[in-house]
């Protein structure tokens, strides 16, 4: 997508690694750990829709910009990688 650097990140945009840190924080607040493996299943680590929503708010608070939640269509979000991809993409909408 933008991994070749052909697209500059917007000033306030968070990197995938930064979003990962925020995701770890969401879990840490509940005494849970975020595995290093992007393929880890959300169901297994106990990351649910409330947690996903909280993460989205944290991304908004970090960037100071509202995410357009309605822009992307429905998709399957099952792994840690899915969450990160989705939020990286959402910042471009």
């Amino acid at each position: 997508m933008h991994s070749l650097g052909c697209r500059l990140r917007r000033m306030n945009e968070l990197s995938r690694a930064q979003i990962r840190d925020l995701m770890a924080q969401v879990l840490k607040n509940q005494d849970k750990e975020l595995p290093a493996d992007d393929a880890a299943q959300l169901r297994e680590i106990g990351f649910r829709s409330l947690d996903f929503s909280e993460l989205a708010l944290r991304v908004e608070d970090e960037t100071g910009e509202e995410l357009n939640f309605d822009a992307p269509g429905l998709r399957r979000i099952a792994t840690v990688g899915d969450v990160l991809d989705f939020l990286v993409e959402l910042q471009h909408q």
């Binding site: 607040n29 509940q30 829709s49 409330l50 929503s53 989205a56 608070d61």
Partner: protein
């Protein structure tokens, strides 16, 4: 401008019963009798420059029945001035030089004895509610002699409650706080022997937050809360600090008057008060989570059941008033959350001095519960972080009701109405 003229009370216009009660205002110790006497037009919409001018207008009404709408200039914008002028009021600024009336756009005869309140209303656009001194006077039984603090903005329902008490009952004195004195009121109150005070929960929280030790020095025998939802935490904190005081909370509004008075130190009112009909007393009911009141103290044209717009929730044997219907309910992915209930849990944390709970737009669930808090001055026990507050809530609330973002503010916000829109 109009020059102040003496207007001695006459047989036709007797002084009110409380005319010789002490009134401390702007640093001066007066009585209702010795207040300035501006010559007011009739009907008048008085914009009082400071508290003493508002009290003077109230006394004028009490003696002469002048049709009166009383407010501060800041609550009446240009559009409202024009609206009042169209409605036949002479919009009149009252300051130290006297009354400065402007001619109404549409002159009409006065309606003797009529008092008008501007309510904030749920739409944000103030609306007029008609009263009389009689319908605003809800405390009628003989009271022990008291010196009341009046921290409210002139012309609001709560202000009239304290003012009518002092005007109509001998032995009910007033110490009025100007807005710029609000933060230091305990010193003023202690100096003038205030032993009864009425304020919003936000007012009491701010006072506890700023200087609880100064509050403890006020010889309070009566503490009254109203105007906003009252939670258990604020009642407990006041009881701990001021064990000698009776603590009451009142549900009152311009529309239905003072309708609920609770003295048992607990938030909410007993379930068995619902649907109880007693002559001369308001009847309380609940329809679709909304408090509905039929009150003998209602405003003009508001006889019969009035939908209050306030949301209630029955918890065990109490009916809790949790907030405004249009803002209290937060829908989190189909699960309903009461902002007031969450707020009560947050303010129940020993380190939280104040909290506001709202819904925030979020993906997947539509809305999420978020909060702002002001932390109590640190007492050595440490300051909780966001995670600690979330865990506190998670131990006491369903999962979807736990605030997922908690922002810390450094000062309790307050508006002129002494409310903070929690």
């Amino acid at each position: 401008m109009t020059v102040a003229t003496p207007d001695p009370a006459t047989a036709a216009h007797p002084e009110p019963a409380g005319v010789d009660n002490r009134v401390v205002v702007g640093g001066a110790a007066l009585t209702w009798r010795t207040l300035p006497r501006p010559a007011l037009p009739d009907p008048a919409a008085v914009l009082a420059q400071s508290a003493v001018h508002a009290l003077a207008a109230a006394r004028q009404h009490a003696v002469h029945g002048t049709e009166l709408l009383l407010s501060t200039a800041s609550r009446v914008d240009e559009a409202m001035r024009a609206e009042l002028s169209e409605a036949g009021f002479s919009v009149t600024v009252v300051d130290d030089d006297g009354a400065h009336p402007s001619a109404p756009a549409r002159a009409r005869d006065a309606d003797p004895g009529r008092l008008w309140l501007l309510t904030s209303g749920s739409t944000g656009r103030p609306k007029r509610v008609g009263h009389t001194l009689d319908t605003l006077t809800t405390v009628r039984a003989d009271q022990p002699e008291r010196t009341w603090l009046c921290p409210y903005a002139p012309g609001t329902y709560a202000w009239w409650q304290v003012v009518t008490l002092s005007l109509t009952q001998p032995g009910q004195h007033l110490v009025v706080v100007e807005p710029d004195e609000l933060d230091d009121w305990p010193a003023l109150a202690a100096a003038h022997g205030v032993d009864a005070a009425s304020g919003t929960p936000t007012f009491w929280r701010r006072t506890l937050y700023r200087d609880a030790a100064a509050l403890a020095r006020v010889p309070l025998r009566q503490i009254t809360l109203g105007g906003e939802p009252v939670d258990q935490a604020i009642l407990d904190q006041l009881r701990d600090l001021l064990p000698a005081a009776r603590i009451s909370w009142i549900y009152a509004s311009s529309e239905v008057g003072a309708s609920i008075v609770v003295h048992d130190g607990r938030a909410g009112f007993p379930v068995d008060w619902l649907d109880r009909e007693t002559a001369g007393r308001p009847t309380l009911s609940v329809h679709d989570d909304e408090l509905v009141i039929t009150s003998p103290y209602h405003g003009a044209g508001l006889a019969g059941p009035v939908r209050t717009g306030d949301r209630v929730q029955v918890v065990d044997d109490r009916v809790l008033i949790t907030g405004r219907l249009d803002s209290d309910e937060i829908n989190v992915g189909g699960s309903k959350v009461s902002a007031g209930v969450v707020r009560g849990v947050l303010t129940g944390h020993p380190a939280v001095a104040w909290a506001r709970v709202t819904g925030r737009r979020a993906p997947v669930l539509g809305r999420m519960v978020v909060a702002e808090v002001v932390l109590a001055p640190a007492d050595g026990a440490g300051v909780p972080d966001e995670a600690a507050l979330m865990r506190w809530c998670a131990d006491r609330l369903p999962e979807h009701a736990v605030p997922r973002r908690i922002r810390v503010l450094t000062e309790i916000p307050v508006k002129e109405t002494l409310k903070s829109d929690v």
